[in-house]
């Protein structure tokens, strides 16, 4: 081994504390990057494979009545590859427990394998006969249904017993949500059951189909094909034409994958940035200390490049080891993350893939990054003159610091405090790095605390402050308002209002979005609308209120006239004025006066659902009423949310550890550097009679001042991070809006302080071990 390389190893050994510190930050950065990026890649790749193997549809059509001949007709259209018509409706699973209401989506399938949206069998056989059903995997697991079991469904008002012939997954229900209005999947109360087409048509009494799934030849022309379908199927009562991106399960998955991409592109950068700053600082201090040795190397004939390469190897070793370890641990962690996703997403072929090229890329990037920041730290080597380096450096000019101008303050300080302030002002770079690290830690802690609370706040706000609906009942299609009388007869209630909830395509210039518009009573008791500034809003007699995320998607402002296109047969297209933009944490909607909505776009006096606030057990009491397709209760939603919070706790724990680690490691290593450089100063103090504890106190006071400033700066930083997260992570499903609370800030500060104190205690051990007397003997330490 070359002698300079031997020197390098001994240099690493002598600075192992700082080396490990910076290495751990690089590892963390690369770890987060690899774990999250791999999970995203793995999900995306596997999802694409799954979609391909099951021939997942490109277009989904919902309509009133589609005749069988349409399948042949559409197949001959230009860009359409395959068409499958099917029957699909929601009904009730009959269980032994009268108190529960379980909704089942029944979908017709071929006797043998389908052309489009093929089922992925987990158990049993695919061939379906009469009185048989295939049950979706998540639902079967949640309700403990197995092959050979019997399930009872209410179809067309009659109870039908079906034998479960298979358990399968469907590409359409990877994320199994009943509708956009439900935030989270609840496989215990909503499931999907597949029944043979002919048999289902027979027992449901339907002569027509109501859905079509299609694949296309050319994906670039998909919008044209959608427009064609919308126009041509109007006479068949087309309700919605969605492409894959808009399909509920797929769009939820994409949101999740995009979220992962955003995380992998942001948080690791913070870690790498700090690792880079630390590495540059560490190496610049090592070079400063090695000034004479570097001069000697130059004097004996080493080239600048050779000396630079020697020190860069230090940085490169951090990069290679950090990159390799980080990406290997990250790959392993992505396995755990992927398994966690399996709890929510049913992708049967999901396996953990090792992306070797990603590991190589991560190592290369980390190496490049470390060499870059390393070079920044050691660039002063170029300026070292061998002749001058042999002479002792002239001592730094001791001049008065800025604070000394404030005589009243300065004169009151004790000797040790004056020393503390002088040291801080003379080592501004170190001061800035420590303060910045503490502020980032505080900021990230605040963001974590806020995120923990915001999910709660979003949910509580939405379901108790924004919406005050205990039961949201949906009907099968539109009904006359008189249906409310029947409901009123069956239950006692505090409030009850009919409602319309119906999809519209909304256009504003070149922007368009398909969302559900909700028609509400004039002075509805079920919603409280507020704008972003907190002013109360009301549904006007005419016009539309839109949620802030819809306003953004449409680039619409108050007073704009937006075009509403109904999906009903011969549906109207009309311009409506935006009367307000409201704050809504979950979902994306428009709200209109129910009379205005039905008068302009539908038939007068119709509703397709009802909101009820009641102390009665509504689910049981309304069990026998015809035309009810589903009853959603606020309590069900809350229970599902409780399960979801378990995940948030894990996420929060990980974030707290990572942010704390950043502050801890930087404070620890910067203090170590400082102790190493000031050994001579501390030794002189020891000779003068100061105890180790007193010296430790001086260091602690310096760090304390820096940390306090860092924490103060961390508060606005945390608020900025929250705003950033709000923008980055807001989707159609949820909008993160909410102010940070004092309690969240206090908790974040306490956690930051715990990490800071731990780092301080670690440095005390180092001071205790220092041989001060030896240091005094050597001119060059």
């Amino acid at each position: 081994m070359k002698k300079l390389d031997k020197r390098l190893f001994r240099m690493i050994k002598n600075t192992k504390g700082q080396y490990i510190a910076v290495l751990s930050i690089i590892i963390t950065g690369i770890f987060i990057f690899t774990a999250v990026k791999n999970s995203a890649l793995n999900l995306r790749d596997t999802l694409n494979d799954y979609y391909e193997s099951t021939n997942f549809a490109d277009i989904f059509v919902t309509a009133g009545a589609l005749p069988e001949r349409l399948e042949r007709q559409l197949s001959s259209e230009e860009n359409i590859k395959e068409v499958d018509l099917r029957l699909s409706f929601d009904t009730k699973l009959i269980t032994d427990n009268d108190d529960e209401r379980v909704t089942v989506r029944v979908i017709s399938v071929d006797k043998n394998e389908d052309k489009i949206n093929k089922l992925y069998l987990k158990k049993g056989r695919r061939v379906l006969s009469e009185r048989e059903a295939i049950v979706i995997d998540q639902f079967a697991v949640a309700r403990k249904i197995d092959v050979g079991d019997e399930i009872k469904l209410n179809i067309n008002g009659r109870e039908h017993k079906l034998k479960v012939s298979a358990i399968a997954s469907s590409p359409e229900y990877v994320y199994m949500m009943e509708s956009e209005q439900v935030l989270l999947p609840d496989p215990n109360s909503f499931g999907v059951v597949f029944i043979e087409e002919e048999y289902l048509r027979k027992i449901s009494g339907s002569g027509y189909f109501n859905e079509a799934v299609l694949t296309v030849k050319n994906h670039e022309q998909i919008n044209k094909t959608k427009d064609f379908l919308e126009d041509n199927l109007k006479k068949h009562g087309v309700l919605r034409v969605l492409d894959r991106d808009e399909q509920l399960s797929n769009s939820m998955l994409n949101e999740e994958i995009n979220g992962l991409d955003k995380v992998s592109g942001s948080i690791p950068i913070v870690f790498l940035l700090f690792a880079g700053i630390m590495l540059a600082t560490m190496l610049s201090r090592i070079v400063k200390k090695d000034r004479t040795s570097i001069g000697v190397l130059k004097a004996v004939g080493f080239l600048d490049g050779e000396i630079i390469a020697h020190y860069l190897k230090y940085a490169a070793s951090v990069g290679i080891i950090g990159g390799a370890l980080g990406s290997i641990i990250g790959t392993a962690a992505s396995g755990a993350m992927t398994s966690m996703y399996l709890e929510f997403f049913n992708i049967p072929i999901l396996t953990v893939k090792v992306y070797y090229n990603r590991i190589i890329i991560a190592v290369f990037l980390s190496l490049l990054f470390c060499i870059g920041s390393g070079f920044w730290g050691i660039r002063s080597i170029l300026k070292i003159n061998p002749a001058e380096s042999m002479m002792p450096e002239s001592p730094k000019q001791g001049k008065r610091i800025f604070l000394e101008k404030f005589k009243l303050f300065w004169n009151r300080l004790s000797f040790s405090w004056r020393m503390v302030y002088r040291n801080i002002f003379r080592e501004k770079k170190k001061f800035i790095i420590i303060a910045a690290a503490v502020s980032i830690t505080t900021g990230m802690m605040i963001m974590t605390m806020w995120m923990n609370d915001i999910m709660d706040v979003m949910f509580i706000k939405h379901y108790s402050e924004f919406m005050k609906i205990e039961y949201n009942i949906s009907f099968e299609g539109f009904q006359d308002k008189r249906i409310l009388n029947e409901i009123k007869e069956n239950i006692s209630y505090n409030n009850m209002e009919g409602r319309i909830e119906f999809p519209f395509e909304i256009e504003n210039g070149r922007y368009s979005k398909t969302v559900n518009i909700i028609g509400l009573e004039d002075k509805t008791a079920f919603y409280d609308f507020y704008d972003i500034e907190g002013n109360k809003l009301r549904v006007q007699k005419e016009g539309i209120l839109i949620s802030s995320n819809l306003a953004e998607a449409l680039n619409a402002n108050i007073g704009d006239r937006i075009l509403l296109k109904s999906f009903l047969p011969d549906g109207e297209e009309k311009y409506v004025t935006v009367t307000g933009i409201l704050k809504q944490s979950l979902g994306i909607n428009g709200y209109m006066n129910i009379n205005y909505l039905s008068k302009e776009f539908l038939d007068k006096g119709v509703i397709n659902g009802v909101y009820i606030n009641s102390d009665d057990d509504v689910k049981v009491k309304l069990d026998n009423i015809k035309n009810i397709s589903s009853i959603q209760s606020q309590i069900d939603m809350q229970n599902v949310f409780e399960e979801f919070t378990g995940l948030i706790v894990v996420f929060m724990g990980v974030m707290v550890i990572f942010s704390g680690m950043l502050g801890f490691v930087i404070l620890y290593s910067m203090t170590l550097m400082s102790i190493n450089e000031r050994t001579l100063e501390f030794s002189s103090m020891r000779v003068m009679g100061l105890t180790k504890k007193e010296i430790f106190k001086i260091i602690m006071k310096e760090n304390m001042v820096m940390s306090v400033l860092g924490i103060i700066a961390g508060i606005p930083l945390g608020k900025w991070l929250i705003d950033y997260m709000g923008i980055m992570f807001s989707t159609d499903i949820y909008t993160m809006q909410g102010k940070v609370t004092l309690m969240e800030i206090i908790t974040a500060i306490i956690l930051t302080v715990i990490f800071i104190i731990s780092a301080q205690l670690m440095t005390y051990a180092k001071i205790h071990k220092l041989d001060f007397m030896q240091a005094l003997k050597n001119r060059i330490s």
Partner: protein
């Protein structure tokens, strides 16, 4: 590279009208002023002068570590004062060996490793073990500098300078940090090396008695040469007393 005409075949180093000025605020400090002399191959030269006389500055310029304000230095007819940075580094690497007052060893390398370090960058290094023996450190080769006395460290520094077979050994106050006896032993090592490896040795010192062992003594004061003495009868280092 300029040639000096090849008149002086034995001259290995020639200094012509060398000047070095430093600007200290408004004052110009003349560290060297019109210095000229020549060094023959294999000579043992002592440059003698009090501190501040410009001898270290002169050594640094001869060694290619510093640039003069005026004048030239020729090494084997090549004008090194016109060299680029890289050429100067190569000059130091292949032609010059340095011995410093405070040894300046790399603290994380052992005695032998310090010597091997420079041997690795030259084409025709001497036998390391032999050099270590020659400086009397055969049994201390695996010790780190912090485990050695000042005299031992200076021997390592000499071994390091000699190991790459330089043409000229430049020693800056090599005994300055040592006691009398150790100082004498170091001078003896330098003389032995001068004889054994036929290097040209230039020692700068403020210690007048050391001049007695030189073939040529160059006396300096206030940045200029006051006298050049050819010593026909140099004495053995052991006979020097101060």
């Amino acid at each position: 590279m300029e040639s000096n005409g090849g008149i002086m075949s034995k001259i290995v180093l020639k200094v012509e009208n060398l000047s070095k000025y430093y600007q200290m605020g408004e004052v110009t400090v003349k560290a060297l002023e019109n210095v000229s002399f020549g060094v023959e191959k294999g000579e043992f030269i002592v440059i003698l002068g009090p501190s501040g006389s410009g001898k270290s500055t002169l050594l640094n310029i001869i060694g290619g570590m510093d640039a003069p304000t005026g004048g030239s230095v020729f090494f084997n007819d090549e004008m090194i004062t016109g060299f680029t940075d890289k050429e100067l580094t190569m000059y130091r690497r292949y032609k010059i060996g340095f011995v410093f007052q405070f040894y300046n060893l790399l603290s994380t390398l052992t005695a032998k490793e310090n010597v091997e370090l420079v041997a690795e960058i030259t084409d025709s290094s001497a036998d390391i073990d032999e050099v270590m023996e020659a400086v009397g450190l055969g049994d201390r080769a695996d010790h780190f500098p912090s485990q050695m006395s000042g005299g031992e460290q200076q021997r390592v520094a000499i071994a390091r300078a000699v190991a790459k077979n330089p043409d000229i050994l430049l020693c800056d106050e090599p005994t300055g940090a040592l006691d009398f006896e150790t100082g004498i032993s170091i001078l003896k090592v330098l003389k032995d090396v001068n004889i054994k490896y036929k290097n040209t040795v230039v020692v700068i010192t403020h210690n007048t008695p050391i001049a007695q062992m030189a073939d040529k003594v160059i006396k300096m004061r206030s940045g200029g040469i006051t006298e050049i003495i050819e010593n026909k009868n140099p004495i053995e280092p052991e006979r020097i007393v101060w």
